[in-house]
């Protein structure tokens, strides 16, 4: 893990931290147990207990230590790993393989993922239909519920969805933390606009070809979820592309640069979420009076959201995913969570507490299912 500086301004006492954790404790208890704890199944009960303790201990530590990113990333990575594990396990159980067949496409059995959303907007507007072989309302990851979840999350968190909600982000976030120092430091700023170019191209190509082109041809995360059965030169080419992109953008480049390169250089949904950063009330603010321009925050930012010019202007760019790494790194408490309308440097604690509750609650509940399912499988394996 990164060696971040202490942030004494955000630390709370033990009692206060427990108090702040209480609402999270109660709400996650309600969601994980359905309000009626059932101890008849030992493996299920143990899995729920471990998941419950995990999320609440992490949330407690965020308040007690004053550090955000250090604990956020633990749950974020666990979410990514457990989701892949759960998906792959279910697919192998049903189909005996990670790939889906033509029959699965014809029967509209493909689980929907929020990355499809940018590509379905134009076709939905013109053809009044969804260009995805999934289920509208029934079953796991149906289209309606995924659209509702993403829409609300992006409205509330903006690009914070990329650090608190996206079940793929944990992969490149995790790999970006493997080294203590980056091997590659100076990266041309022009590349941070690539997700917008990708968004433009996939939205156009999807509308014209009626195929979700990012999913069909590019998405690197097919390497850890599911992909089209390789039965032709075309499907083999697609497999080659996504495996290469996973290796390059999700593993190698994040390790070398300590940046989230897949999210910053490719993901078209990240581009959409950046735009929604304009409407969310939560933001990162820079208190220019407290800032000593050490630029540690610029160095640690994994999303290219900060630059020396930003800091001097006291503004954070639309690429900010509110991960909290800069906040944790700042020794002067100059860069902090804020609420739009409230001047920088004021109501820091209040803004952080409110943002943390909203974002962590979303992540905790969204990830609970896959964490519990994975734990159940592991417990069954052990016992």
């Amino acid at each position: 893990m990164d060696n971040v500086l202490k942030n004494p301004g955000m630390k709370k006492s033990l009692g206060k931290s427990l108090l702040y954790t209480l609402p999270m404790f109660l709400i996650t208890f309600m969601f994980m147990t359905g309000g009626r704890p059932d101890f008849s199944n030992p493996s299920s009960s143990l899995a729920i207990l471990i998941a419950f303790m995990l999320v609440n201990v992490l949330y407690f530590l965020m308040h007690y230590t004053g550090k955000t990113d250090k604990y956020r990333v633990v749950l974020f990575i666990i979410f990514a790993l457990t989701l892949s594990f759960t998906l792959i396990k279910n697919m192998v159980a049903v189909r005996n393989s990670m790939s889906f067949s033509q029959a699965d496409i014809l029967e509209c059995k493909i689980p929907f993922c929020h990355l499809v959303i940018p590509m379905m907007i134009l076709p939905a507007a013109f053809s009044k239909s969804i260009i995805f072989p999934g289920s509208i309302l029934n079953g796991f990851a149906n289209i309606s519920s995924m659209v509702v979840l993403w829409s609300v999350a992006t409205l509330v968190l903006g690009r914070g969805f990329c650090s608190w909600g996206c079940f793929y982000g944990g992969w490149d976030d995790g790999f970006s933390r493997m080294r203590k120092k980056p091997l590659v430091k100076n990266i041309n700023e022009i590349w941070k606009w690539m997700p917008f170019a990708v968004l433009l191209m996939v939205a156009l190509t999807a509308a014209l070809s009626l195929v979700p082109t990012y999913c069909a041809w590019i998405c690197p995360f097919k390497a850890v979820t599911e992909f089209e059965q390789v039965t032709s030169v075309e499907s083999a080419t697609k497999a080659g592309i996504f495996f290469s992109l996973f290796a390059g953008l999700v593993v190698v480049l994040p390790v070398m640069t300590k940046k989230r390169t897949q999210c910053s250089y490719l993901c078209p949904l990240g581009a959409v979420n950046s735009i929604s950063n304009k409407i969310t009330p939560f933001t990162i603010k820079i208190d220019k009076n407290a800032c000593n321009e050490c630029y540690k925050c610029v160095e640690v930012c994994p999303m290219f959201a900060l630059s020396k010019e930003n800091i001097k202007d006291g503004k954070v760019s639309i690429f900010c995913s509110k991960c909290g790494k800069c906040v944790d790194a700042c020794s002067k408490n100059a860069i902090h969570y804020g609420i739009k309308g409230i001047p920088a440097g004021t109501m820091k604690n209040f803004s952080r507490n409110l943002f943390l509750f909203v974002s962590f609650l979303f992540m905790a509940i969204f990830s609970a299912g896959s964490i519990i399912s994975t734990l159940q499988s592991l417990i069954k394996l052990i016992l």
Partner: protein, 207 residues
């Protein structure tokens, strides 16, 4: 014609990035309001359209003459697509590329009313990698109508970028939009590279 439209939409931004900010003052000079700007822009676009139809005709006849053999019809365009696509990708990311538009030569035109016509001709025949790609596509079409349709799709895609030109001064984040457009051009180049490879492999397998 989907790929022609996409090529036009993505490369039109690169065209605008180099030429737009030069053309606009000429289009605006001596103008007396929205009506004059609209007429100038319309004349410019119509001239481009006519020039493209001429190019489509020439390209198709060239294709008929040299790409009559089915094997050559796949392999040669396949190679050309790959070469021009690489040029297009390089064009989009090359920092040392000269951004000066040939439209600057419009300074030498005395008659104010001929400026949009002249700019339309210069812009259409300013051979760039995107135009090479669409010429290659046009040359491989089965009928001359298909060749015209390809150029029409390319024209429509690229012209959309010129339409907001009169509002250019008011658009914030112009630089970011231009950067995105240039990167999209590079991505379009990659799409055509894959198309070229598919043609080439198909030609080799069938040959």
């Amino acid at each position: 014609m989907t790929d022609a439209l996409i090529l036009g939409l993505s490369s039109g931004s690169a065209c605008l990035a180099t030429c737009g900010m030069v053309m606009f003052p000429y289009l605006m000079s001596g103008s007396s309001g929205v009506r004059r700007i609209t007429i100038d822009l319309s004349v410019f676009l119509i001239t481009r359209l006519i020039a493209y139809f001429i190019l489509a005709t020439l390209a198709w006849y060239f294709g008929q003459a040299f790409f009559s053999d089915p094997l050559i019809r796949n392999i040669v365009p396949g190679i050309l697509y790959i070469v021009f696509a690489v040029m297009l990708v390089w064009y989009s990311i090359d920092k040392s590329r000269n951004p000066v538009c040939p439209a600057k030569i419009a300074k030498t035109v005395n008659n104010r009313r001929l400026v949009p016509v002249f700019l339309g001709i210069v812009n259409s025949f300013g051979f760039c990698p995107a135009l090479f790609i669409i010429l290659t596509k046009s040359a491989t079409q089965g009928t001359i109508v298909q060749s015209y349709l390809a150029f029409l799709a390319f024209f429509i895609g690229s012209s959309l970028w010129f339409l907001p030109l009169p509002l250019a001064g008011k658009i914030r984040k112009r630089e970011a939009i231009m950067t995105i457009g240039l990167l999209a051009t590079g991505l379009a180049g990659i799409i055509f590279m894959i198309k070229g490879l598919t043609n080439l492999i198909g030609g080799i397998i069938n040959g």
